[in-house]
């Protein structure tokens, strides 16, 4: 039976088209369509910084980090704070789960940054200082914690660990305050249908 892949990245990219600033709407829609079409993209500098930061966090947490130069990286202080929290966690845990939304069989898929004793961790890197942004509530409507709670039914808590390389901001969500991912996917499917993109989704996201 045919199943379709569903990830939080696709849902986030779609939701961003509604939540972004007005002048970025066109870019956001183009990004979403690119994600929907599963086009491979060169990572931006911001993405590269995020990946590098995550690696640093995992390395410090695992005790395998070796400084390559004479100086510690600029983000070492922030990464150490994250590492202290995720130490002992399994990192980059890939999970999948079958479900059905509006009659469509789906394979939910995600990679958890960290998992330890019932708590899911997600490491976020801010490319600008924390002083200039309002972070509180930033992830309230993110599909990430609903998706990961669905993928890992035994987890009871999700913690976003947000660092700008120096400071750490933590936002936590419990399972009880999190909407089911199916409700977000349902809205997404309704939108795909109404916008005429459902056929693209079915073609590009067919699970192997």
């Amino acid at each position: 039976m045919e199943r379709y892949l569903m990830t939080q990245t696709l849902l986030s990219s779609w939701l961003y088209t509604f939540n972004c600033m007005e002048e970025l709407e066109e870019d956001a829609m183009n990004d979403f369509l690119s994600t929907l079409n599963r086009e491979t993209k060169e990572p931006t500098d911001a993405m590269k910084n995020g990946i590098e930061f995550e690696r640093l966090c995992y390395g410090i947490a695992a005790g395998t980090y070796q400084p390559t130069g004479v100086e510690f990286p600029r983000t070492f202080a922030g990464a150490s704070k994250v590492a202290e929290i995720i130490r002992g966690a399994q990192v980059q845990v890939a999970l999948q789960k079958e479900t059905e939304v509006l009659g469509m069989p789906l394979l939910l898929y995600g990679i958890l940054d960290g998992l330890k004793a019932g708590v899911i961790y997600d490491v976020k890197f801010l490319n600008k200082g924390m002083g200039g942004v309002d972070l509180a509530g930033k992830y309230l409507e993110s599909p990430q914690h609903p998706m990961y709670f669905a993928l890992c039914p035994e987890a009871y808590l999700f913690r976003y660990l947000v660092s700008d390389g120096t400071d750490l901001y933590i936002e936590r969500y419990t399972r009880t305050e999190t909407p089911p991912i199916e409700s977000i996917i349902e809205q997404f499917f309704c939108w795909l249908d109404a916008s005429g993109y459902m056929s693209v989704y079915k073609e590009k996201w067919l699970a192997k």
Binding site: D134, A136, E154, Y169
Partner: protein, 313 residues
Amino acid sequence: MIVRPEKMDFSKQTFSAIIYGAPGVGKTTVACSAPKPLLIDFDRGISRVRADHRVPTIICDTYEEVLQDLSDPSMADFETIIIDTGGAFVTFLKDWALRTKPGAKTKTGEFNSLKGFGFVKTEFMNFTNQVKTIMNKNVIYVFHADEKADKDGTPIQRLLCEGAAKNFVWNGCDFGGYIQMLGGNRTICFTPEQEFFAKQSHGISGKHVIPFLDDKHPNNFMTLLFEQARKNIEAEKDYFEPLQKQYAETMENVKGIVEEITDAETANMAADTIKNLEHALTSKQEAAAMLKAKTDSLGLKYTRKDGYVLKGE
């Protein structure tokens, strides 16, 4: 001193909380309902609290005066420190940094926002740690709400505060509630909504009506809330203790089993053994991740037919 979970006593657990809302909604009065409170009136707002609800208050002109008062022996009489408001506290810290930290000043004598807020942030955290951890008091941060609009023009409420403090102040706090008037009732909500952020924990969540204060209803809302949180912690402890014990035991077993894997045969045996262990919390997923990492490192792959085999076979 190592204390085992079953011996832990939460009867004297202290809490930290954020209370925020529009001016005049009664934030300071609610904060003053905490057990044995001492208010630090950075905002000069104590006069707006009804006379019979006022509590002992530090009225100060500089941050140094507050530090001096905190070292007074009479501090032992208080169980809760109220910082009113967090935003005004940052203003005091800016003034302190300007006067005492040369790096916080630009050449023209103005506040250097890049370096200056670094000093403010560090001192904000040091102060909170001193009150919470060293002095073992409850801490309540009162903030004015800062109304912003989202993309569609819907109002969203945030903490009115300069610098990064508005973000990291949430990290260490147990609860954060937004106060508003709803249908003639003053309510505080500890569950985040689209319009405002909030923080729930220890079973304290959702909307709570703050009682109208009169002779029959003393100002004890936060005291009762803290008591309820303590009871909930005990209940949580009873629920999680066996799960955490089982989790620790299972993960210890898993580590040993995974360490023994050397080839496809031992990997298959390990997979079977792990499957049959008694799992708790997320031990099953974590064990699967450990197994995968180990088998990957040995160049093994999983097939439905034969289980683990060497890649290329």
